[in-house]
Amino acid sequence: MMTIEQQLRELADIPMPVPARLAQQAWATGRRQRRRHARFGVGVAVLAAGVTLGVVAAHPALADTSSTSSASSVQHLPAHG
């Protein structure tokens, strides 16, 4: 008499033919998806750079890194004594 557990173990011997082109198709699709993801990443980076440049063009003061707020405020302080 075989128990359910033994019969389940026998299922591991079911012959399962693997389609011939399974690996090639999966590899080709996987690579295409990887490229698409990479292109999406580049697209997002370009978009972010464009937005940054746009904001800086609209507000040139943001690009002026020579005068920090603390430095300019110190310059305009009235002199005492």
């Binding site: 075989m2 019969q7 026998e10 591991a12 399962m16 693997v18 399974l22």
Partner: protein, 174 residues
């Protein structure tokens, strides 16, 4: 590693593990065509991350197979349930085809288990993983594995009570 070498290694991985992955998918879905789709999707995911996988490619793909089979089941829930005529394994046990009938009856009974119980039963008894490996594979606790395995086996005994009366390849062994 070059792209051609990567592809060759991937192909040899599929040659070595494809049958086992397909079998797992078949036992989880109960349908050959669906099992092939599930394995194809899982292998595409593996191929996408090939070269960046940490750990065994087979374990990674098996997890993808289990998740894809469950996702597919969720999508198919809206469809009407297919009804299969139960196989009378008792009548055919002296027949040379009885083992195939028996196997089909067991696969059909497996298909009627809830997804988690089915996955646990397949991992524990068909793939022969221990409780810790099964828990890791399915992302659940060891206690849940034990409980699901017990409930799954009990349900299988109820769903296919005659299965335990039938013997191995030589016929009945009562």
């Amino acid at each position: 590693m070059g792209r051609a070498v990567d592809e060759a290694v991937f192909e040899s991985f599929v040659r070595a593990s494809g049958a086992s992955l397909l079998r797992t998918a078949y036992l989880l879905t109960g349908d050959h065509g669906l099992a092939e789709d599930v394995v194809q999707t899982a292998l595409e995911r593996t191929a996408r991350h090939w070269g960046r996988l940490s750990g065994s490619a087979e374990a990674y793909t098996r997890r993808a197979v289990i998740n894809t089979a469950h996702d597919g089941r969720r999508r198919r829930l809206a469809r009407p349930v297919e009804v299969h005529a139960p196989t009378d394994v008792h009548q055919s046990q002296s027949d040379p085809t009885s083992m195939i009938d028996l196997r089909d009856a067991l696969v059909m009974a497996l298909r009627r288990l809830p997804p988690r119980q089915r996955s646990v039963v397949v991992c524990r008894y068909v793939l022969d993983l221990d409780e810790r490996q099964t828990a890791r594979e399915l992302g659940i606790g060891i206690g849940t594995v034990k409980a699901s395995a017990n409930r799954g086996l009990a349900a299988l005994r109820l769903l296919a009570p005659k299965l335990e009366l039938v013997g191995g390849p030589g016929g009945p062994r009562q």
